[in-house]
């Protein structure tokens, strides 16, 4: 149990996927302009990553490893993720319109969210067992969400501030993200 908690804390804070591992920056910058978008994106990433983690892990265990095709991991995973996301989107649009209204619009963005692909690859690379994989697949995106929501809070204030022209928008957002990343270094060594 303790290991899993450590794994989770490590994934959320210490090795935060956005701020320490630099994954998933495009949606990080794109959807952090408002708190609503940030929460939506965070939830969508958790949802998709949990699914994608399971599916890719199973793929690895069932097909790639036995067949000795580990080198094809990249292509297999991306196809699986892309198909999965698209399927979820189509499915959700029809069957769960309420949920789709909240999360659905974020789904297409996730296909090219390298955080999803990244975590799936990490799961394999670290040779997690199923439970560890599950924890990691939820904790990493939770860390993504945490950073995204904190960042959205900061950014909401920065947008209404008096940032000088050339620094506005993405530029200042990146600097702020850098500061966040710096602060997250404080968690270093905690596990």
């Amino acid at each position: 149990m303790g290991d899993y908690i450590l794994l989770a804390v490590g994934a959320i804070l210490v090795n935060n996927i956005l701020l320490i591992q630099y994954l998933g920056n495009c949606p990080f910058l794109g959807t952090s302009k408002s708190m609503d978008n940030a929460t939506g994106m965070a939830m969508a990433v958790v949802f998709v990553l949990a699914l994608a983690g399971i599916v890719t892990w199973i793929f690895e265990a069932v097909f790639l490893k036995p067949l000795g095709l580990e080198y094809m991991r990249t292509i297999v995973f991306i196809v699986v993720i892309a198909a999965l996301v698209q399927f979820v989107e189509i499915f959700m649009k029809k069957s769960m319109p309420a949920l789709y209204a909240g999360l659905g619009i974020f789904l297409p963005l996730i296909t090219t969210n390298c955080a999803v692909m990244g975590v799936c690859l990490i799961n394999i690379k670290e040779e997690y067992n199923f439970l560890e994989m599950l924890v990691s697949s939820i904790a990493y995106p939770a860390g993504f969400g945490l950073a995204l929501i904190l960042f959205a809070g900061l950014r909401e204030r920065i947008i209404i501030g008096r940032v000088p022209g050339p620094l506005q928008d993405v530029s200042i957002a990146l600097v702020t993200a850098g500061f966040m990343s710096l602060s997250f270094l404080g968690f270093k060594g905690m596990i």
């Binding site: 701020l19 630099y22 920056n25 495009c26 292509i75 196809v79 390298c114 620094l167 993405v170 530029s171």
Partner: protein, 202 residues
């Protein structure tokens, strides 16, 4: 409307240079620009994938049904990414180790998919090559430049791409500002460079 091949190429070098103008594909930009060698290596890998996928997407653009356009593009891109992955392992293993997870992640780099969608799927192969090459070279230059800044301040060195040479820039009393090569330094540095690019304009 109709641009010459040269224009298609050169637009990627300044007007639309990623990631400064097209603020896309930031993850590798942030992660692998610790040293110039890594940055340029990543750039070259991405350029290779970009050009190859552009050629193929452009060539197949009339065959691929539009509903499965994106999955098809992804397959094409992913194939080349794995090719790069394998070739790099065989030829430049240390670089592969440095770039780590970001080589497979080229597959989800928005620039490449974006060019496939926005350009290659609508233009003939020659123009697509020029476009891919231009964007790719621009990407490489940008990565190299950013890495140069970070490495110079953060380590006091410039590592020459594709060789083991590392140039020491300062004397022995130099204390590197290692913040620049750390994760936060990447963000801050890119942010400030973007601001400078905004200031200069197109």
């Amino acid at each position: 409307m109709a641009k010459t091949i040269v224009q298609e190429f050169t637009k990627g070098l300044w007007e639309e240079i990623p990631p400064f103008r097209l603020v896309l594909g930031l993850c590798p930009v942030l992660a692998v620009t610790k040293t110039v060698a890594n940055g340029v290596g990543m750039g070259v890998a991405a350029t290779f994938v970009l050009v190859c996928s552009n050629i193929l997407v452009s060539a197949l653009r009339n065959i691929i049904p539009s509903q499965v356009r994106v999955p098809c593009f992804i397959i094409i891109i992913a194939t080349f990414v794995v090719v790069v992955e394998l070739v790099m392992q065989a030829v430049a293993y240390p670089l592969f180790l440095q770039l780590g997870i970001f080589i497979p992640l080229i597959v989800v780099n928005c620039i490449i998919l974006g060019r496939a969608e926005a350009f290659a799927s609508k233009n003939p192969p020659v123009a697509s090559i020029a476009d891919g090459l231009g964007i790719g070279v621009g990407f490489t230059i940008a990565l190299g430049a950013l890495a140069g800044i970070r490495e110079a301040f953060g380590a006091g060195t410039i590592s020459v791409p594709f060789s083991d040479t590392v140039i020491q820039l300062f004397g022995p009393s130099f204390q590197p500002f290692t913040f620049m090569v750390e994760a936060p330094g990447a963000f801050v540095c890119l942010g400030l460079v973007l601001a400078i690019m905004n200031l200069i304009g197109k």
